[in-house]
Structure formats: C-alpha cells, structure tokens
C-alpha cells in the first residue's frame, strides 16, 4: 500500500531532525555530526556544511518569501541562521542546549521561536530582512526550571494561522503540560491555555500544531516519553462569525480526543519514546515516529459517533544483520 524508499544517511552519526522546506522540494537534515545537509527530494546533495560545534538538535526552514533560510539549534547553546549554507546570525542567549526552533507563520515576519534546556522559550525577530544578520530577542518566557537534559522534553510549535495572533504551543522540562502562549507586541506573553493530563504521567517530548485549514478548531498532537501519542482538540476563542471581531471573553479550551500507546507497546527495554509527531499539510494525518523503530500514521475515521482517530498504518523497518 505504501511505498517506501530507504535513503542512506548523509550523516556519520545519528540524525536528529529532518525538515522539508515550504515547497517540499528540499530536505534539511541535521545530526550529531554537527552538520546540516540539504538534499533535494531526488536525493541529490545540495548543501552540506558544518554548522555547529556540538550535536545539532533541530533544524527548521523559514518561509520562502524570506529566502532559502534555515535555522538550526544546537547543543552548543546557539541558534544559527543560515542562508544557503552561509551563516547569517548566531543567537546566543540560551544557557542550555537549544532543542527546537520553529519559524513563525510568515504573516508575522521573520520570527523564530526557540526552546532550550534552560527552560526558556525565546522568540527572535529578524530586524533586517535584507541581510538577515540582525536579530532581536522579541520575547522570552520561562517555561520550566532547569531539568536534566536526558529526562526532559522540549518542543515548540506555532499555530499556523494568524487570526489569533502569534500563538505557540510549547513544552519544556520533565512535564506533561503543554503551554499555549500568546505573544502580542503590546503586552507580555500570556499563557492562554495549558494542556494538562490528569494525573500527569509523562514527559512530553514533541508537540505539533496542526494546520487548521479553516477548521473551527485546532489540533495539537503531543508525543511523550511514555510512548503515548495524544491529540488535543483545541477550541480557540470564537472569531466573530459575522464581523470578524474578536470576542475577548471567549477563552481557549481543549479536550483530549485521542490517546494512543502504540509506540510504547513494542518498545524495547527502554520503552518506546515518541520522538516526533508531525501533521500533514492539511492537518488530517498525524504521523509519529518512536524509538520502537516504527512510524505510525493516524487518521480520523468517520463513524456514527463522530470522528474517531485511528491508526492508519505503520511502517517498521526490519533490518537484517
């Protein structure tokens, strides 16, 4: 049913992150070998360079309207901005290794959110789009006190829509609480909602905010150290249906709509840890990758009782000796 092509890794050690660019034609990958490799979809090498002085944990593409811009986060506590393999800026504020970067929707300008093991969520904004070399720390939120790196989880994901302002879902530290934080130019960042499990049981390692594609609700997927993939349905404050005015009184709310432990089931000794969850471009298929060596796809199926999220397939790669 699904065709799989295996790719040989361009990295000499573990690969930590993969990212398609906006058009889906280039893939950037980064790894422990401190390199970022950009390949095209037909697997021809485009750029490859040593980017950090430590393992690179995450890489993200900016919207193409800003150029072929990449941001990378490394365990050398820096975030670096690249344009076609050329270093444009180094963001140094983090006091722990930076674990994730993600660019804001292009409507907000060239902004990048980073989360580091010092427990801080930082948002940088590029002040000189022509040169990409001047970045200012636009916002900083402390999400957690420091946690030992191997025990925690750090993730940040932007709301892909611009109608509610700049909103991110972020998690830091050994916690299962995903904070939804709203930034605005005039006021300090506000946590508008917390996605909390009760009883809390795990550490969230990855968060993905689904593109809403005009739906009246949002979906946020999380993956945890317990191997669970969870999907939250988040109802944003209603944007006035007729006029488009924001009704301030309405609050964000959320409910857990799915909770799967499949990644934990076949986990080896360490137990399955969900490494990454990601939505497809329309926010209808969730894919998750876990340390049990499988990639799973989740899809809502229409039943009499409404939409139920179900597994739509899983890919496991068996490797022979």
């Amino acid at each position: 049913m699904i065709q799989t092509g295996l790719i040989t890794s361009a990295h000499s050690d573990l690969l930590t992150c993969l990212a398609y660019d906006f058009y889906g034609t280039n893939i950037a990958s980064c790894g422990l070998d401190q390199k970022i490799v950009v390949t095209t979809t037909d697997q021809s090498l485009k750029y490859e360079w040593k980017a950090h002085n430590a393992p690179i944990t995450h890489v993200a593409w900016a919207h193409p309207e800003f150029g072929e811009v990449l941001a990378s986060a490394g365990m050398d506590r820096t975030v670096r901005i690249w344009e076609r393999g050329e270093e444009k800026a180094v963001l140094l504020d983090a006091r722990g290794s930076v674990r994730q970067v993600e660019f804001a929707p292009s409507a907000f300008g060239l902004k990048v959110a980073t989360v580091a093991t010092d427990g801080w969520l930082r948002v940088y904004e590029c002040l000189d789009l022509g040169k990409l070399d001047v970045w200012a720390l636009a916002d900083a939120v402390e999400l957690a006190r420091e946690v030992q790196e191997v025990q925690g989880g750090w993730a940040v994901s932007w709301c892909k829509d611009r109608y509610w302002g700049q909103v991110v879902a972020a998690v830091a530290g050994a916690t299962d609480v995903v904070s939804i934080i709203q930034f605005s130019p005039s006021t300090s960042p506000q946590t508008v909602l917390e996605l909390k499990l009760s009883p809390s049981s795990t550490t969230i390692t990855t968060v993905a905010w689904a593109p809403s594609c005009g739906r009246s609700y949002h979906l946020i997927a999380t993956g945890g150290r317990d191997g669970h993939v969870r999907i939250w349905k988040v109802n944003p404050p209603m944007l006035d249906v007729i006029d488009g005015d924001v009704d301030e009184k309405d609050k964000w709310s959320a409910q857990l709509v799915a909770d799967f432990d499949d990644h934990a089931r076949i986990g080896p000794l360490e137990g399955g840890v969900v490494g990454k969850v990601d939505w497809n471009v329309t926010g209808t298929i969730l894919s998750s990758s876990g340390s049990d060596g499988r990639v799973r796809l989740w899809k809502p199926s229409l039943t009499s009782g409404g939409r139920i999220w179900r597994i739509a397939g899983s890919v496991g790669v068996e490797q022979k000796e």
């Binding site: 065709q3 295996l6 050690d13 993969l18 889906g24 050398d76 402390e142 005009g214 249906v241 360490e270």
Partner: protein, 1227 residues
C-alpha cells in the same frame, strides 16, 4: 533491531552492563573541597602511590589526600593534614597547609604545571613557572618545602612531564619553542634543548618501556612532533604539521592494551602493542587519536599522518587523558573556564582574572553567561547583579545553593553537553559516552587526573578541588532525539526511525565475569582499534502518497476550477462538470447541489455588482461595437443554421418586435416622461426580449437564474463613457421600456412593428443611448427614481406571466406549471438580463433545455400565434446581446442536428443582438432579409411615433394593477423556495465542515469563495479557507493557480498580497527615461512634460497638449488623450494587416466555444497585443463565437487575421494597436 539484534534481550542483558549501576557499588565518592587552591586556577599531579595529589595554583601548593571511609589504616606521611571536606558518601579530603607560604617565591613563580616525581624522587614535586623557572619541592623537607629552582627557559613553561619509565628524566616545554630535558640528578641546567618553530603547548614523555626516551610535543600551531630525545635536535621521528587546526593543548600516550598512560605509571609490561596510542586535544575542538601500534624502533617507521579516530567535543579541549583500564575511553575537559560549552565568546568573557578568588567575594559578572556555570557560591551573591538581567537569576542562585550544600545536586545544573568533563569512547566520534555530572561546577576545570578508573580528581577554576564519582554520569545520547519525520505538501513523508539498543556503541560494556561466554556467542570485547560507530540503528525512508486524496486530482482541479464570472450558478455547474471529470465525485455532487440551489425560482432584485466591474468591462464595450460594425457584419448573418431558417426567424423577430412596440403605441396615449422621441424609440427594442425570451424554450430554472445573474454582467459591460451623455434621459427610458413590456404582454403581438422601425431610425445616432437606457433600467433607475421606476420588475413579470400562460394553454397543456414559473421569473429582466440569462440557460441545461424547446417548438410552432413566435424571437435576442457570452452558445449551435428551431434561436440572437446593442444601422446590414423586414417596419413605425409615447404612459398605469396579484404568488414561491434553500445551505454547510475535517481545503475554499454568504461564513472563516488553500497551492508551487485565486477573490486580505510592495515605475514614452520623482521638482506648468526630454506630448488627434490620462504607443511614441483615442479607434475600422493561417485556430475555437473556462479567458486576452488587449480581446472573442456558431464544421479551416489600428498621426505608418483574431471570412 540493531547491530546485535540476533541476541535476545535477555542474553544481551546478561553480557552487557551499565557501569554506572553495576561494578563498584559503594557509597558515592564525590567530595569537594573549596579553596583547595585559594587564589584560583591550578594544576594537579598525582603521587605515584595514588593516594595523594598535589594541587598548585597561583601562590599555592597543597598536598591533598582523599580518604576512603572504609580504609582504616592511616597512611604514613611526612605532612600534616587536616580534614577539610567530607562528601556524602563519607569520603573526605584532607589537605595540607599551603606549602607556598614561606617559600619566599614571588608571584611570577606561580605554577603553570606540576609533576610529582616517581620512585626515588617520590618525595619531590616539580612545578613550572610563568617566568620560565623550574622549581623543585621536597615534601619531606622540614620547614619550607621549597628546595631549589632553576631557570633555562626564557619564557613561560607550559608543560612539564616526568618520564614514567626513567624516573629521573623530566622534560619541559615552553612558549619560547624550546623543549628541554632535565635530569633530576643534575638540576642546575637542562641537559638538552630541542627547538621548535613555535611555542610548545604540551608534551608527553614516552611510557613505552623499551623506548623511554621519546617525547611527543604539541605546538601552538597545531603540529605534533615526536622526538627521540637521545638524538636531540636531530632525533625527529615524526612531524605531523597539521595534526590540529589550532593549538594542541594536550597529549596523552598510552602504551599498553590495558591503558597505561603517561600520566599514570605503567602497571604492566607492554605487550606487542608497539608504541601504543597517542591522543591529542586541541583548541580546534578536536581530539585525535593516533595509532602508533605499528611503529617500530626503526627510524623509518612513522606514525600515520591521519588520526585513527577523531572525536568532536563541543568545546575547545583543555586536557585529554586515557581512562585507566578502559581501553577505548578518553576523558576530556573543556578549555572554557566556565561551562561555556563551545562558545568562544563566553570563554573570553570568563577569563580567570575576572573570577573572584574567594567564594565569598562579591561577584561582578560582566555577563550573565558567566554565571550560568552553576557555581553556586558565586551566584548566591552575584545573582543580584548579573543574573537578574536575564530574568532568571533566582533560579540560578537556587541551584547554586544546591551545589554548595550537596555537591551531587549540582548535576541538576550541568547535565548538558556543555559539561566540562566528558568521557568519550574513541569509536563514537560525535558524542561523548558520559557526561560527568558536576564537573562544571565552580567555573569549570583547569586540570584533572584519574584518582582511579572510576573517580576523577578535578581542579576547578575557582580553586575548588573535587573528586567526582564517574558513576554520577549521564548518557548524553539519551538526550538526542533519534526519531524524526517531516512531511511536505505533496504528501511525502520522510522519516527517521530508530530502534536503538541500550547496548549500542559505546555502551557495549561486557561484564567481566561473562566475558568468556560472550566470546562464544561471537560478541567481541571492545578494544581500541575497533571500527568506528556505524549508524545502523536509524533508518531513513520516504513514504509517498500520504495524502489520501489524490494529488493529481487536486492539482488538476486547482488548475481548472473557475471562480470568476458573474453568474455563480453557471460557475458552479461548470465546476461540477470539472470535478466530475476529474473523478472527485463528492465535490461534483456538492457543486451540482450548489448550482441548483443558487438558481432563484423567483428572481431576486438583482444585486448590483460593485462598480469596479463596470470599470473593468467598460473598456471593452466600445471596441465591441466598433468591431462588430466593421469586421463582422457578415459573420452574424451567416451564423449557425440560421441561414436555412433565416426567413422564418426574421419573421419571428420582426413580429415580436412589432408586437411590443405596437402595444406601447396603442396603449400609451400620453407619456409624461417621454418628451423626446428618442427615448421611447430606443428603449423599445430591449423590452421585447425580456418578456418573451428564454423561458419558453429553456428550462425554467436556468432562465430565471440567468436573468438574475445576467444583469450585472451585462450592465457591467456597458461602456461607462457612453452612459454619461444619456444621463438626462435616464428616468424616462427605463420606465418606458418596462411599460412597453407590460403592454406587450397584455396585447397581442400582432401590432405593428413600428418600434422596430423607429429603432432603425435612431440606430445610428442612438445606439449608445440605447444601451445607456438599458443600463439605466437595471442600474440606475431603482436607486434614483420614482416609484414608477422601481416598479418595473413586477410589471414586467406580470406581463410575462400573462403571456406565458396564454402560450402554454395553446402550446402544451402539461407544461403549465413550468411555464408559469418561467414566466414569472424571466420577465423581470431587462434585455441585459435576458441576454445573460439566455446564455447561461443555453450552456448549462444543454440537452434537456433543448429537448424541451424542441418539444414545444414542434408542437407549437405551427399552432402558435404570433405571440409565441414573438417570444421565441425575443428569446433569441437577449442571448446575443452579450458579446462574451455569445461564445457560450456554442453547444447549442453544435447540436444543430437536433432541431432547426434551436439553431434558429442561435442565429436569431446574433442578428438581434446586432440590432440592439450596436449601432442598429450596422446590424441591420447583416442580412438582407432582416433589413427588409426592418425597413418595412420602419415605415410603419415612423407613423406611430406619437403613439409610442402614449403607450409608455399607459404602461405606467398597468403595473400597479398587476403587481398585487403577482406579489402574492411570489410570496408563496419565495417562501417555499427560501425554506428549501435553507435546508440546502445547511446541508452544504455541514458538508463544508466535513470537507474541512477531511482537509479538502480546495473544496472548502471554493465554497467559501463562491457561496460564503449563503453559507453564512464569517469573513474570517472565509479568509481562513482561502488562505489555507492559497498556501497549499503555493506549497505545490502552483503559483498561477494561487494568483488566479488572489485576483478573483474579492477579499481585501487576499488581494492585498499581490499589492504589497508592488512598485510601478514610470518612464517617458519618448525618451524612455524613468521619471525620477524624487529629484525633480514637481511640474507646475499647464500640462505635464518629461523633464528629461523637455517635451510634452501633444495629442495626435486634437493637437492639444495632454495632461492627465493618456494613451501613448510605446513604439512610435505618438499618443494623446485617452478619450480622443478611444473615440477615434472605436469608430474607425482596423486595417487588415495580414492573414495568418494557424493551427491554433481549432484549439482556440474549442476553448472559446466552451462554457466557462479559464483557458478561454486567457487565450482571449492574449489575442490582442499587450497595449490594448482589452478591446481586441472582446472583438476577437465575439468573432470567434459567431464563427463557431455559424460554421461549426469548418473549424479546421480558420485562419488568423492580423488587424491593426494605424497610428493617428499621418505619415507615421505605424500600427499602434494590433489584434490577432480569427478570420472566418477569408476562408
């Protein structure tokens, strides 16, 4: 699973173990002693008995002893210790007094390096000094332990090493580039000097038993030299110039398989391991491991020039050491004073001199970064200063307390990669095996040594000394995200899946006790020289087709869906067809439903399109007129199968016209409004079409709908220019025309064709006014006018109904109901409406409508009285009136085989259209017969002029009577209709949400674009759909589709994207130089001129200077007032430049003939030259449509015709406007 997947978990668990939780299980051995080296900095050297070490720093030299609580027997020592610190596990550090005190040494003798001598010199300690002195201490000496010093180096000694084999040899390396060999027996002077091109950073004495007098030197420039010390300067064995790309800061040499390194004396004999292995660390953040096992004693045997292993710590390396009894492992500490990780910027901030020397001293950190090392003592006080700037000082100081209180707690802070002490496995070059927790406390390490294989003695920058338990370490690899995936817009998913084993390299420690058994299973014990780690646990793969909806369908639909146009119903049905053909049945169903639902059973008062439409289309109108007049008179008459039945159709035509006019004449005795004969006359022709037209022949719904929707389209096309002149008349014409309609309905059509005649009379002059009046009716009148004007629609309806009923009765009894509806719906429309409606109905209903019409016509044709005929004729006319729409008649035309009547219709339309729309005079030329008819009518009409005026008046009265009656009927229908519609919209909305859930953003967006009002979509919601759709398109790089959406979606937020940062640069048409607006002062003259060429443009027509809107040919630079040019060109026929036979014509014909298609629009617009695409487009479009109607069978023989407007300036000879249109006449 992974590389050892053949093992079950059980067995692998049997063999492997985690050295942190197995092995030594005693109490934690971590213990820290603050101020071991009071003034900070320092070096460590371990005594040969392994129980003590010497730490030295700035004006400080202390002997430290770490005492195991379980170790009861006290060591004999000549030095007095006092217990200074006790760790959690009971381990305590005992320190001597500061031996520096009383030595009489100055501060510039402060130690840079220290070595505890061995064997017979085991009570001697050597320290090297910044001033180049080598100082010997004797701990057995009473009183001051300082013994002697010697100075041979002229600059600071960086490195000091005692031979692990020959205990009386010592070597020193200095920044002056000299390596000096010292014999402790003759300490006065060095016994040998080996020079180097640059300063020496580090040296290591050979631990190789059979070749002890060798040394390896690491230089500032990154070179590594190996020397045979017996040969002195000539004893160069190896010279690796670029061993590192920066200074080599540290070297260690292990010579045995059990990892005896130079820093810890050999415990076993070397066995066939050659010269062992050398590890070097540098400021280039690399640790290189050099294989000397194949090196022999012969001088020609060299060490390889490439390192066997390269490790990549994230920091600059300060010291490297082989870990005792762990063959593959190397301990590495960072060069940063703080846990600056790899940031050199941090390191520079954190120079030792900035460091406060005493824990209690107030701290002034220039950067918060300095503090983050987690040095608790400092932050306690320093938090108030530096830390608060970053906003999390509280956190730091909190942890700081933890550090001082219980050293283990510090691990909380320092779990990261930036930890200063790491243990690496040579086989894993990119990530450390262990982070030693707490090693970064107190500002990083300056030096370290292994107390035993599992404890690390480190001296911190702050002066603290600690023994670190290596069990308190974290696996940095655990923090590495191993699984990742990403998906793109086209449904591909690329993933990394990982199934890591706990025992993957470098954690494949085998329990010593099961080693043999493990070997049987084929598990080899790891050892140095093994291959590097291969990343086998990760698999990278791609999945395609993740989007369960077909991407091809999406793309196809994106390219073909239509959203522009005035008639949404038609758009929807066309999209339905598109979706159906694309196989997206769900969408097709919805489209069809929407299309049906958009059809008004009772036409709503037409909603006027925004005025911009007018602007856009207006340009084309004049051109249309002129072109028709000029180029294609023949085309119309010949069109379709009309020829065959032309006579008949003409008759119908004339009759219908006459009927209408006749009524007006008769019934309207006095017209209050119509003072001028023109109006009455001109207004007449339009009316007839409205009443009769479509409904009879076409499906009920279509006609209705069309009439409604059609209005805006037509009106919008009206040239705005022409409207102006007629404004004065506006009120009267509209009303009059409506009245006429009503009359026509009431009275029979037998009445004379006077109106026709009148029309003809006025044609030449008033054709424009005629149009104008039409527009009036639709556009202007409701708003402006009196009650009378606002009424027209009901009136007309009444009339229509009436008529139709009669009709039905005569023609087909069964169709009564249908006809009713049709009638009620259609009449309201003015001609413009009618025309549009006609088109839509034709195109859309296709067969069914045809069938109906056929049926009816067949039955009624013979029987019908003039009334019906009139209707039929009128029906034809409206369609033709619209140029662009005419193309859509094609389907009908093609099916000419079906019935003559239908074809008649098509033909009729054209001819009639000509009459009404364009200068009537021109149109009449089309067919002789027509002309004849008209002329006849004309004759009659001339006489009846006054009557017409009267008729108008009469018409006014009539409506009021009728309105009441119809209104009621309407209410009922409207109510039912409304209910049904609500249900439908609710269903569609539900479906929309479903589409949204399913991620069918395309469908969502289309619905949001076309029927957002019906679905009560908020603006935001609509925007969200369209936005996401556009983004999706862009992701798929369907830029044209995206801009198509942006262009035609009338939502500001969507459109503004294409307006942002759009700059239009203007240039003079004559000199081609840009108008530089900034530097030039604004033009103040009576007319504008180019400041570069200093010339103004004189209008080529009126010879007056141009100021304001102008046309200028970019080639010949002639130009003039836009209005002048418009007037001129619209009246003047184009010159035929050439015939260009082309194969394109066929394709073009099909496109132009199809209903709504985006390709039509595009091809049409490209037919003209860029300068005037608008006008030529419409012209060509019309032509093609007429052609296709006329001679469908001859499509292949079409040629292209190049037409051009000559430049208005005589003798210029340039054709400023050129149109490339299809030529049907030439063939």
């Amino acid at each position: 699973m992974n590389f050892n997947s053949h093992l079950s978990n059980n067995t692998s668990a049997d063999f492997f173990y985690d050295p942190r939780t197995h092995g030594y299980q005693g109490p934690p051995r971590t213990v820290r002693l603050p101020r071991a080296c009071a003034n900070g900095g320092g070096a460590i050297s371990k005594s040969s008995d392994g129980t003590r070490c010497v730490v030295t720093g700035k004006e400080s030299l202390k002997i430290l002893r770490i005492v195991d609580p379980l170790q009861t027997n006290d060591l004999e020592d000549s030095i007095q210790y006092k217990t200074s610190a006790v760790g959690k596990g009971g381990f305590r550090i005992e320190a001597s007094r500061n031996l520096w005190d009383g030595s009489g040494l100055k501060i510039d003798s402060s130690s840079t390096c220290v070595a505890w001598c061995r064997e017979e010199y085991k009570n001697k300690i050597l320290t090297s000094a910044r001033n180049g002195e080598l100082i010997m201490w004797d701990i057995n000496k009473s009183g001051s332990k300082y013994e002697r010093k010697s100075k041979d180096h002229i600059r600071s000694i960086h490195a000091l090493s005692i031979s692990p084999v020959v205990s009386n040899y010592c070597i020193t390396g200095s920044s002056d580039g000299d390596l000096r060999v010292w014999d402790l027996r003759e300490f006065q002077k060095s016994i040998m000097r080996v020079r180097h091109p640059t300063g020496i950073r580090t040296i290591v004495f050979s631990p190789v038993v059979w070749s002890p007098l060798q040394a390896v030197v690491g230089l500032d420039n990154g070179s590594i030299y190996r020397w045979d010390l017996k040969m002195g300067q000539r004893g160069s064995l190896d010279r690796i110039i670029v061993a590192h790309s920066a200074s080599v800061t540290s070297l260690d040499w292990c010579s045995t398989s059990t990892a005896t390194s130079a820093s810890s004396p050999p415990t076993t004999e070397t066995t066939g391991n050659g010269y062992g292995w050398i590890v070097s660390g540098g400021l280039d953040r690399c640790v290189n491991v050099w294989d000397l096992t194949s090196v022999t004693n012969s001088k020609s045997s060299h060490m390889p020039h490439k390192p066997t292993y390269t490790l990549h710590p994230s920091f600059q390396v300060r010291r490297v050491l082989w870990r005792p009894s762990h063959e593959c492992e190397i301990a590495v500490i960072s060069n940063g004073e703080f846990i600056s990780g790899s940031n050199p910027e941090m390191g520079s901030n954190a120079t030792p001199t900035v460091l406060p020397n005493t824990p209690g001293a107030p701290v002034r950190m220039s950067s918060t970064r300095n503090v983050q090392g987690g040095q608790g003592i400092f932050t306690k006080k320093g938090s108030g200063l530096g830390l608060d700037m970053s906003g999390n000082g509280g956190l730091r100081s909190k942890n700081g307390f933890a550090v001082t209180g219980s050293p283990k707690g510090s691990s909380q802070i320092d779990g990261g990669v930036g930890d200063v002490a790491e243990v690496w496995d040579v086989r894993r070059g990119w990530i450390a095996k262990w982070h030693v927790n707490g090693s970064a406390a107190e500002g990083g390490s300056t030096d370290f040594a292994f107390g035993d294989p599992n404890t690390l003695w480190t001296q911190h920058g702050s002066g603290m000394f600690s023994q670190l338990d290596l069990r308190d370490a974290t696996k940095p690899v655990d923090a590495i995200p191993r699984a990742s995936l990403t998906s793109n817009g086209s449904g591909s998913l690329t993933f990394v899946s990982s199934s890591a084993s706990r025992w993957e390299i470098p954690y494949d420690d085998i329990r010593p006790e099961v080693l043999k058994r493990a070997t049987k299973y084929g598990i080899k014990q790891k050892g140095i020289g093994d291959t590097m780690f291969q990343n086998t646990s990760q698999v990278i793969g791609t999945l395609d087709g993740l989007a369960f909806d077909s991407l091809e369908t999406f793309v196809h639909l994106a390219k073909t869906y239509v959203i522009e146009g005035e008639d949404r119903r038609k758009i929807c049905s066309s999209n339905a067809q598109i979706a159906f053909e694309a196989g997206h049945l769900g969408a097709a169903q919805i489209w069809t439903l929407v299309a049906v639902s958009l059809t008004n059973i009772i036409p709503n008062p037409p909603t006027r399109p925004p005025s911009k439409n007018n602007m856009v289309h207006s340009v084309s109108a004049p051109a249309i007129v002129s072109h028709e007049a000029d180029t294609s008179p023949g085309g119309k008459s010949t069109r379709g199968s009309e020829k065959a039945s032309s006579i008949y159709s003409k008759q119908l035509y004339t009759r219908s016209l006459s009927r209408a006019s006749g009524h007006t004449r008769r019934t309207t005795p006095s017209s209050s409004n119509n003072t001028s004969p023109h109006y009455g006359l001109t207004s007449l022709p339009p009316m007839t079409p409205m009443t009769g037209r479509l409904p009879a022949y076409l499906g009920r719904r279509e006609s209705i709908d069309s009439s409604i929707n059609g209005v805006p389209g037509i009106t919008s096309r009206r040239p705005s220019v022409y409207r102006r002149p007629s404004t004065s008349y506006s009120a009267s014409p509209s009303s009059s025309s409506l009245k006429h309609v009503g009359e026509g309905a009431l009275d029979d059509s037998d009445s004379s064709s006077s109106s026709e005649g009148e029309v003809n009379d006025n044609q030449s002059k008033d054709s424009f006014f005629d149009e104008e009046s039409d527009t009036r009716k639709t556009h202007v009148s409701p708003a402006v006018a009196t009650s009378r004007i606002s009424h027209p629609s009901p009136l007309s309806r009444v009339a229509g109904q009436h008529q139709w009923k009669g009709n039905d009765a005569e023609g087909e009894g069964q169709d009564d109901e249908n006809d009713d509806d049709e009638a009620s719906a259609s009449p309201r429309s003015t001609d413009s409406e009618a025309s549009n409606g006609g088109n839509t109905s034709l195109t859309r209903t296709g067969i069914s409508s045809n069938r109906r019409s056929l049926k009816r016509s067949s039955t009624s044709l013979t029987k019908r009285n003039t009334k019906t005929r009139g209707q039929s004729a009128s029906f034809l006319t409206p369609v033709s009136s619209h140029l662009s729409m005419s193309s859509q008649q094609k389907p009908l035309v093609r099916q000419d085989s079906n019935s003559s009547i239908r074809t008649v219709i098509a033909g009729g339309e054209v001819s009639y259209r000509g009459d009404r729309n364009e200068g009537n005079s021109l149109k009449t030329e089309e067919t002789i017969k027509q002309l004849r008819n008209m002329s006849i009518q004309q004759r009659k009409d001339k006489t009846s002029l006054p009557e017409i005026m009267e008729g108008k008046f009469d018409g006014e009265v009539l409506p009021s009577r009728r309105v009441v009656w119809t209104q009621r009927h309407e209410d009922i229908v409207e109510k039912d209709e409304g209910e049904i519609r609500n249900v439908v919209w609710a269903a569609v909305y539900q479906k929309l949400e479903e589409f949204a859930d399913d991620g069918d953003i395309q469908m969502c967006a289309m619905l949001a674009i076309l029927i957002s009002k019906e679905l009560r979509l908020g603006k935001r919601r609509q925007l969200m759909f369209i936005d996401s759709y556009i983004e999706r398109l862009i992701r798929l790089q369907l830029f044209t589709c995206a801009s198509y959406i942006r262009k035609h979606v009338l939502v500001e937020d969507i459109q503004k994207t294409s307006l942002v940062e759009t700059v239009i640069y203007t240039a003079c048409g004559r000199c081609k130089k840009a108008f530089a607006s900034t530097s030039q002062s604004s033009v103040t003259g009576e007319y504008s001129y180019c400041t570069n060429c200093r010339l103004s443009i004189t209008c080529g027509i009126c010879r007056l200077p141009v100021r304001g809107l102008m046309f200028q040919c970019s080639v010949c630079a002639h130009g003039g007032h836009q209005s002048c040019y418009r007037r001129y060109y619209t009246t003047r026929p184009m010159d035929v430049l050439s015939h260009v036979p082309t194969v394109l014509s066929k394709a073009r014909q099909t496109t132009s003939g199809s209903e709504i298609s985006r390709s039509t629009a595009s091809t049409a617009s490209t037919t003209g030259t860029d300068d005037e695409a608008m006008s030529t487009t419409s012209a060509s479009n019309r032509d093609t449509s007429s052609e296709t109607g006329v001679e469908p069978s001859e499509t292949t023989s079409h040629a292209r015709l190049l037409l051009g407007h000559p430049c208005v300036v005589p003798l210029c000879g340039h054709h400023c406007w050129i149109a490339n249109i299809e030529d049907n006449r030439g063939v």
